[in-house]
Amino acid sequence: MKHHVQIEVNGRPRDDWVEERELLVTYLRETLGLTGTHVGCVVGECGACSVHLDGALVKSCLVLAVQAGGRSVRTVEGLGRGGELDAVQASFVDAYGVQCGYCTPGMLLAAHALLDRNPDPDEADVRRALAGNVCMCTGYVQIVRAVLDAARRMRAPAGSERR
């Protein structure tokens, strides 16, 4: 049976019909073609599917699409503006915090969730904020560096950060 949902995705309103057991991650990837959010596990322990739901970092594989009705979702595709990378994305690129790219979207959303509430984190804060996002390639050091760099960039006076 289909349920009617209206979800705002990356700032745009959507109007769709979803099956009960359609996961939010499936809705994003299959229905909306937003394949940047990835699936890496079954029980929601890898974080590759992380998105923002009403501004909170969640694992979209542990949310039914129907639960997201009336809410707003932000995915990696909603970062940056007009093809330009935002400060967090740019920092990940510059700090070599990206290897295979599979954990990257989830990491970016987790970083944003941290910086939204704490613009001046220390390393321990960053590690704690990203503890639900597993990476098998990098050993995390360059990712942590990227998040700290992003925080610095975002705290810098407007106009002084250039991409």
Partner: protein, 814 residues
């Protein structure tokens, strides 16, 4: 010919060109691919560790609404041929046919026994339970000791024993070494089953079209060795026209070489059955159960030593628990030829090994394959020698390393270490870590009841495969495995002057596009941003060969060599064309940056890349005789310094690999002796990766592989019950490290260029996963020295350490 610099682009932190698409979420992973009419597959797997398949009936599932193809084990044996035995199984006495699915018997929980394709994934999962497979369960064996005990159930009746392979090799006079020994140091060691668990599990899309002979099959898959997939599909399905396309891979680490071929074949078979494209993507539980594990290995080690710490020789006996398949039974043993002598100038080694099958997941290559264990053997033994002789652990290593100045150094087994300064690495590590200060801090901490430990390990990271290596161990094997290796690169300069590179390997996060562009830029003297690197591998278009796997280990040699060779060919052609255009001899011209070719004597006379390209493609009457038009070349690289010992000689000496990075790892840990928990306070890698092409990329490889080795030591591990059920079915159960449990790893580079490679580059990939388990073991033993604890086995999760401290036996899972 080495050109060790100075470099314009090599060695610079050129921005990653892969990262921009990944931070936008615009990578193309297999599960992102959608084809019209595509169905979704699921694999049915054995719930039993050991059983005979009595029957399988897919008819009810076939009637489930939305299901369009079903294949069961008995059917697939009719429809497909077994895999041809490959190099990983070379030398096995009895050949037992291996199919994509289990055939007749299941030998591990999770082994594929059936599959179906349906309109969507959820429907496929619903229908799967309707395939009825009847089993006769058999007793399972879950350890080598159990498997070789009299009366143990046999996994392969045809082989007649669960000990499926035995081999031994020795170099130098081992008997003499032990006769001359003043002290013999003995211990037993072990490493456990683990995996590199790439974040993206196996996935593929298969699209078969009937007609024109055996039809045409295209697969998209996240496999890292295209040759394995290409061969597998042709051999098992009898299709000539096979195209393998590989886009972005979410991590591979060796895990995506071997067992993945089964699933590509099964998916292709489904597509053949229903005539539609079929996508299959496994989930994490499936991958942990059946994707492949690194081998659990047990060792008995004896070292012949002089009282001054000189190691005269080593005897190693090894038992490998290879799981429920024969097809990879030998690799963890044969791979030890790569780092058999580690960083040491030792005259004699004997290595004896047996491979024992058990009812567990088959073993596969994994970030090091056998080399972390060989390094563990060496480094634990060095620590033991130091302890028994009352020597400092750094001293005993300094005593035995290949001396600086002895390079290129030929080991008794025929490896030629290209360059190195192992003493320098040790001194630098000790200094940078503050070794002496740390020892003082450790003494102070002990008086406060705190247990700090300093760990030391060093290891080589052999790179660049030589297919003939296994012939040293298997002199009677002919045909496979071959010799040497090759991979290629196609380079094209367009009429516009832009440059495109097509690599002969796929990529999975090692920055291949970035480094390839830098190498082309270096040779052609244009900025790397002007070099486009194709990010999709395609067997019909990419110049691949017998060493085309994407591992950093092979890439640095074969692929960088190919890229460099292709760029050099085009540069030479540009010079020759320019000479023709300008009417001057080529040696009178200088090849400048930005594609300008200028007369040395008369600088006003010059030409440029765009002009030359237009001529080459569109003004072919002016292209000199004997020269091909166009500016495109494919270069297949062969290592030019493979002799001596390119193939094993009568003494079985062979170049197992061709370049030899090395590193020293030092770790500072604190052990909570009440709980057994180990915290890594500091971790340092001082490494020699030769000429580094991109420092950011290499740092990422070193840190990433070190982090994995540390996690392996600290507890990530598979656990099986005595009935063969996998107890660790989630990443959390398995114990994968997160940001909270991975230390901040420091890396210092002390690279010495290789004299054998075009840029002096050496491997930079899995290397830091090789010494890191030993470094942690060394640190924990050092921390617990006042309690008399010896660390011989991994992993060192809190309970394991607690058992060591309290003198309790190792935990057995029931």
């Amino acid at each position: 010919m080495t050109s060790p610099g100075p470099f314009a682009y090599v060695g610079k932190p050129t921005p990653s060109r892969e990262a921009p698409r990944f931070v936008r979420g615009r990578g193309t992973f297999v599960d992102d691919i959608k084809l019209p009419g595509m169905l979704h597959a699921v694999i049915g797997r054995s719930p039993h560790a050991h059983a005979r398949i009595l029957s399988a009936d897919g008819s009810r599932a076939a009637r489930h609404p939305g299901v369009e193809a079903v294949v069961t084990s008995p059917e697939h044996v009719e429809l497909t041929s077994p895999f041809r035995p490959g190099r990983y199984a070379s030398g096995l006495g009895t050949h037992v046919p291996e199919y994509a699915m289990a055939a007749g018997k299941v030998r591990y929980v999770g082994e594929p026994v059936c599959a179906l394709a349906a309109s969507d994934r959820a429907t496929a999962e619903d229908a799967l339970s309707e395939i009825e497979v009847l089993y006769e369960t058999l007793e399972a064996v879950t350890s080598p000791a159990q498997a070789v005990a009299p009366g143990a159930p046999l996994l392969f009746d045809e082989v007649g024993s669960n000990e499926v392979w035995r081999n031994a090799i020795s170099y130098g006079d081992v008997e003499a070494a032990f006769r001359e020994a003043e002290v013999v140091v003995r211990h037993t060691l072990s490493m456990h089953r683990y995996s590199s668990t790439p974040l993206e599990p196996f996935a593929c899309v298969a699209s078969y079209e009937k007609g024109g002979g055996t039809g045409a099959l295209t697969v998209w898959c996240n496999a890292q060795a295209p040759e394995v997939i290409h061969d597998a599909l042709r051999e098992t399905l009898g299709i000539d026209d096979v195209r393998v396309v590989i886009t972005d891979i979410g991590g591979s680490f060796g895990q995506k070489i071997h067992l993945i071929r089964k699933y590509v074949v099964i998916t292709a078979l489904l597509s053949m059955r229903c005539g539609k494209p079929v996508k299959w993507a496994e989930d994490r539980t499936e991958h942990l159960m059946a994707g492949g594990h690194a081998c659990g290995q047990e060792f008995e080690v004896e070292a012949a030593v002089k009282r001054d710490g000189t190691v005269l020789g080593l005897r190693v006996r090894e038992v490998d628990d290879v799981g429920g398949s024969l097809s990879t039974a030998t690799i963890h043993f044969t791979n030890k030829l790569n780092n058999l002598f580690n960083t040491y100038r030792v005259g004699a080694i004997s290595l004896e090994g047996t491979a024992v099958v058990t009812n567990k997941c088959p073993v596969v290559p994994n970030r090091g394959i056998g080399k972390p264990a060989m390094c563990f053997v060496w480094e634990r033994t060095m620590d033991r020698i130091a302890a028994e002789l009352g020597m400092d652990r750094l001293e005993v290593r300094l005593k035995n390393v290949v001396p600086t100045g002895a390079f290129p150094y030929t080991t008794p087994s025929g490896n030629i270490y290209d360059s190195g300064d192992y003493e320098g690495l040790l001194h630098t590590a000790a200094e940078r870590m503050g070794y002496d200060e740390l020892k003082a801090e450790q003494a102070r901490a002990r008086t406060d009841g705190r247990y700090l430990g300093i760990g030391i390990a060093m290891g080589i990271e052999p790179g660049g495969r030589n297919l003939s290596r296994d012939l040293a161990l298997l002199p009677d094997v002919k045909g496979i495995p071959g010799s040497g290796g090759t991979s290629g690169a196609t380079l094209r300069i367009e009429r516009s002057g832009s440059v495109t590179v097509t690599l002969g390997v796929p990529s999975s996060g090692q920055g291949h596009e970035t480094t390839a562009a830098q190498v082309v830029a270096e040779v052609l003297r244009i900025p790397p941003e002007r070099v486009r690197v194709a990010s999709t591998f395609d067997t019909t278009a990419s110049p691949w060969g017998g060493a085309s796997t994407n591992s950093g280990n092979n890439f640095h040699l074969y692929e960088i060599g190919a890229v460099h060779g292709a760029a050099t060919q085009l540069r030479d052609k540009l010079l020759a064309l320019a000479a023709s255009v300008l009417g001057l001899p080529a040696d009178e011209l200088s090849f400048e940056s930005d594609g300008v070719v200028r007369s040395k004597a008369d600088p006003a006379r010059k030409t440029g890349l765009v002009e030359l390209a237009r001529l080459a493609y569109n003004n072919t009457v002016l292209v000199p005789d004997g020269m091909e038009p166009g500016l495109q070349t494919t270069f297949m690289y062969r290592f030019p310094h493979a002799q001596p010992f390119a193939v094993p000689d009568e003494q079985r000496r062979v170049r197992a690999q061709f370049t030899f990075p090395a590193s020293v790892h030092m770790a500072l840990v604190e052990v909570d002796v009440s709980t057994g928990r180990v915290d890594v306070l500091r971790y340092l890698v001082v490494g020699d990766n030769g000429t580094i092409i991109n420092p950011g990329v290499v740092e990422g490889q070193v840190i990433g592989s070190a982090a994995h080795g540390i996690s392996v030591a600290l507890g990530e591990a598979f656990a099986y019950g005595s009935d063969g059920q996998l107890l660790t079915r989630t990443l959390r159960d398995y114990g994968k490290s997160t940001t909270l449990t991975t230390p901040s790893i420091e890396v210092e580079h002390r690279g010495m260029p290789s004299p054998f490679t075009p840029l002096g580059q050496k491997a930079a990939g899995e290397g830091a996963a090789i010494p890191s388990p030993a470094a942690i073991a060394s640190a924990v033993e050092d921390a617990l020295e006042p309690l008399g604890v010896r660390v011989r086995d991994l992993p060192l999760g809190p309970e394991s350490v607690w058992r060591l401290i309290n003198g309790l036996p190792e935990r057995v899972f029931d």
